[in-house]
Amino acid sequence: MKVSLDWLGEHIDLTSYSPEELDHLLTFAGIEVESIITMPDKVIVAEIKNIKPHDNADKLSVCMVDDGNKDLRQIVCGAKNFKIGDKVPLALPGAKLGKELSITQSKLRGTESHGMLCSQKELGGEDDQGLWILPTESEIGESLNTIYPTIFDLEITPNRPDCLSHLGIARELSALSGKNLKGNSDYAVSETPHRIADKSEINNLDPKKCSFYTTRLIKNVKVSKSPCWLKTKIESIGLRSINNIVDITNFVMMEMGQPLHAFDSNGLKGGICVRPAKEGEKFAALDDLNYDLSIDDLVISDDMKAIAIAGIMGGANTGITEKSQDVLLESAYFIPSSIRKSSRRLGLSSDSSYRFERGVDPSQVIGASELATKLILELAGGRAEKEIVVFGEAAEVPPNVPLDAEKCRELLGHHLKNQEMFAILEKLKLKKINEKDNISEWEIPSFRSDLTRPADLHEEIARAYGIDNIPSRQAGWFSKSSEADHFFDFIEAKANELSSIGFYEARTIKLTSELKIVDCVCTDNCNAIAIKNPLSDDLTHMRPGLIASLLDISERNLHQGAERLRFFETGTVFPGKEITEEAQHLAILVSGPDQNSWLDPSPEPAGFFTLKGVLERIINRPIELSLADQKEANAAFIANITINNKAIGCAAQIAPSRARQIDARHPIFVAEINLNLVFEESSRQIIYQDLPKYPAVRRDIAMELPYSLPNIEIEKVLREIDSNLLESFKLFDLFYDETGNQMNENKKSIAYSLTYRNHERTLKSAEVDTEHEKVLSKLKTKLPIEFR
């Protein structure tokens, strides 16, 4: 909301504050100052003296303007909404508009332009429909920043509707600065008599949505342009000046926070009815748009038709125009939730709905009508009906709220005396009803319906006292570590290890699309959960796995020239069988050679066993891999990973066709494991073993076996051998010739080295021979192998 410093000055003397000091005061009242707007220097009032078309451009015209100097000034202009005699803002060469635009003397399509004529928007306002036509009374040559005051653009939190007006802000500043309000500051008191409406005048069919509705008829007004002071005031806070009647209703709203609406009474047939809209009822609003209403929307209607969407916007059929003669002025209290719902549903928000949906001060409904009527009579003449016609009752005053000073002190963590608290509440216009020991009871002013509980009073005290004045306490407490702590540390350790061996940690977002999901080759990707209201086509589902994002970022990095791809990501995935199922996964991607150097200018590209090696190190438990039966279009093959026969994830090679799509030059290998499951298997007790005192003996075995026999079969046999002497074994060579020249292509040659040791004494050669013979014969009987 924009507020004008001059306008505030009518309610409170702020002359002793600089804009920066006011900024500080407001900020610490909880009112965020988004910006402080002042009219730029070197922008003056100019009068259009002559307009002719530009020789080389249809859309431009060449104007001669009077800037107060002897000679007219030539300006090239793109707007169309002005005529000779209009007064408009002229930015002179050297003026700076916003951050971007510096005005210089220049040539536009070959014609000299000595400055720029401006729209309201170009000078910090909101209206961008052509040039800003200034009041005719404006003095030529006068600088705009002397006419238009400094503006504060404020963000008011939803709990403080009372601050949505100049009076409201002034009231707040008065409470915080201690300076008294001046001028008209209490619109709750009214002198105008009012009478209960006859049913034929106002009929309210939905008092639950509108508790109080008033009208006042003003006849024979003269609708015209607003006088200079009103137009300037309205425009200074970014509103568009329309005519004197509409400007007056806007002025009253910005002055005291009560939205009003003026109907052209001559367009009305019969009395006013506040009623739910009919399902599918069409409504043409003042914004020139048509709305389809529903039974949940509240409308104001006459006997024939709807004339306003209650509290949100009036109808085109009864708007005030130059031709209007009689004005029916509405001032009402609509229930916030009803306005909020309609405004959301219709996607239609106005300054009026913004205030009603947050809650206006019910005690000002009559006062606002009274002030607007007074102004209409002053500026547009006419004759007002003696009485305001009312239906229903203004909402009751908010109930009293107790304050326990001791409780408040506890909450602040600071010893604030009772009297100091009371002083704060009194400045905020609360009234103490009674007091006993630390307990007091407070009457709440009508404009502060947000204050309903003791906690609300504590907040006011903390806010006004200033958190800066409360000391900070730094205390440590003992806290047991939780399961979440252990799991977090477990994942951190894995992540740190991966980055220490050269893997980049990726963090991607967890929303994905159906198109991408097929890339999640290591996880079940058939049940991905769809979002009901996605924002775009590429973010429609919850990710069922991490591989798709790792491929995505591989593509990005390949395209910027990367060859070495080493990525991992940890994070939540959503398998989707149950919507409540979430798991923490780790995915790894490797492709391409490791970093080269002058010592090793062309290292080998990563293969599947590069990936498996990483997995073995990271998981740090004996893992087993086996080829999986399942097929994925985007995977060349998939292998299941198990620990202790428990499936924990999959490894795969991305299908070459898919790799080509992202312009990969090397095969891509990926793995994804469920960290929750690995974590369960992670506890391990390390027990120290005595270092061997006696030497070991090594014997090698070379064997030829069918190519299709998985290596694990050999290791299974070796593991099962019952021997006290066989300490360990290790594969050290694998040979295979696919051409069949050196060895049958259906065979492979594998070499193992076996280590024998006796922990009690040095082994004799003969003993080892006997034991080794046992191993060989076991292998021979169990497997289709031949020793070489």
């Binding site: 610490f28 009242a29 909880g30 965020e32 939190t157 939730s337 959301r344 909450l411 602040l412 963590g413 600071h414 906690a455 609300d456 504590h458 907040e459 903390a462 958190i467 800066d468 409360i470 900070s472 306490r473 730094q474 205390a475 440590g476 407490w477 570590s481 939780s482 979440a484 702590d485 799991f487 992540a495 220490s500 050269g502 893997f503 980049y504 940690e505 963090r507 991607t508 977002i509 967890k510 929303l511 959960i529 979002i531 009901k532 209201n533 924002l535 775009s536 919850m542 970022i553 990005r556 990095n557 910027q560 990367a562 994070g571 939540t572 959503f574 919507i579 970093q595 150097s597 002058w598």
Partner: protein
């Protein structure tokens, strides 16, 4: 024989002195003294000699052996000395080292880790909760009115069964209080989602760090002290911090925290980095209702809660201008955080 040995010694001495490498010397040792070496073969002939010849021949044989051995050893030492002297003579120490991977964690993880370390020192432990939540955990239990705009489908992602993607990690406050008796002192890092188009300053999914401390007599002073310590840990002790009154449905009073960003050559600027406040009594009341007891009675306990946006912290900390860099994972970007 003695003469023969003298000749052998001459040959050996000459060969040894001509040798240039340790390898050559090893070979010479074998040639003269090895199992099939010249001296060994002659020694074998000793048994054929007469009694009177033997002592002199034996003496000569020993002398020859010792002399050859000594010559070898002296020469080995000479060559080693020569080689040792050369070590390091020709190395170009300015050539690059063999590269080892140098990769740091993602900036978000680094910030998170620092924040968690600081908060753990103050006795906070971790807690977690699901990202797909019910409306009750995300809004109702957190004192958010039924018609609050955050609940709109235009602002929040929903699923067909009515569940939603949590819009903040504050849901974990409720889950923690449901499961645990006071006091609780938890932090919870995690994802939050808003229905925002992705641009330079918005992500539809971002990361938050939530904190909650509930006990007897928890005060604003504790809130201030805790957050000051946390932010000083991340941004340095000299960083200026301010608490600005604000409004959130689930805390009262509520504050936004700004830090004074000082970039060289630019006007210092207050930047909002966190929201916090004292837990609203209505949140406790709602928790009690769902627990079916009064262990979180607002008359007995009080608490503070806070939430930090990790992307924002990282952007401020390292001057990152576009939030999308944090999800693009360009290695040229990531490499800068090693």
């Amino acid at each position: 024989m003695v003469e023969e040995l003298e000749n052998i010694l001459k040959d050996a001495t000459l060969a040894i002195s001509n040798a240039c490498t340790i390898d050559e010397l090893d070979k010479l040792r074998l040639t003269f003294l090895g199992k099939k070496g010249i001296v060994t073969i002659i020694a074998a002939k000793m048994k054929d000699l007469g009694k009177e010849e033997k002592p002199a021949a034996g003496k000569a044989l020993n002398k020859t052996r010792t002399a050859i051995n000594d010559a070898l050893e002296v020469k080995v030492l000479n060559i080693q000395e020569e080689e040792d002297r050369k070590v390091g003579e020709n190395i170009d120490v300015t050539l690059p080292g063999t590269p080892l991977p140098r990769v740091g964690r993602h900036p978000i993880s680094q910030i998170l880790s620092e924040a968690i370390n600081a908060l753990r020192r103050m006795g906070f432990s971790l807690a977690s909760g699901p990202e797909i939540e019910t409306e009750w955990y995300c809004f109702d239990a957190l004192n958010t009115p039924a018609d609050h705009p955050a609940r709109n489908e235009s602002d929040t992602f929903y699923f067909a069964d009515g569940r939603l993607l949590r819009t903040h990690t504050s849901t974990v406050q409720i889950r923690t209080m449901q499961k645990n008796e006071p006091p609780v002192r938890i932090i919870s890092p995690g994802a939050a989602y808003r229905r925002d188009e992705i641009d330079a300053t918005h992500l539809s999914q971002f990361n938050q760090l939530e904190g909650l401390y509930v006990d007897k007599n928890v005060s604003l002073a504790d809130l201030k002290g805790t957050l000051e310590y946390l932010l000083h840990s991340i941004f340095g002790k000299k960083t200026q911090i301010r608490f600005r009154p604000h409004f959130f449905p689930f805390t009262e009073p509520s504050f936004e925290i700004d830090i004074l960003l000082q970039v060289q050559g630019k006007q210092p600027k207050w930047i909002e980095i966190a929201g916090c406040g004292m837990v609203d009594p209505n949140v406790f009341i709602e928790v009690n209702k769902s627990r079916g007891d009064n262990n979180y009675s607002p008359d007995q306990v009080s608490g503070f809660a806070f939430g930090l946006g990790l992307e924002r912290l990282a952007m401020i900390r390292w001057g990152i201008s576009d939030i999308r860099l944090l999800i693009e994972n360009d290695t040229r970007f990531l490499h800068q955080f090693a």
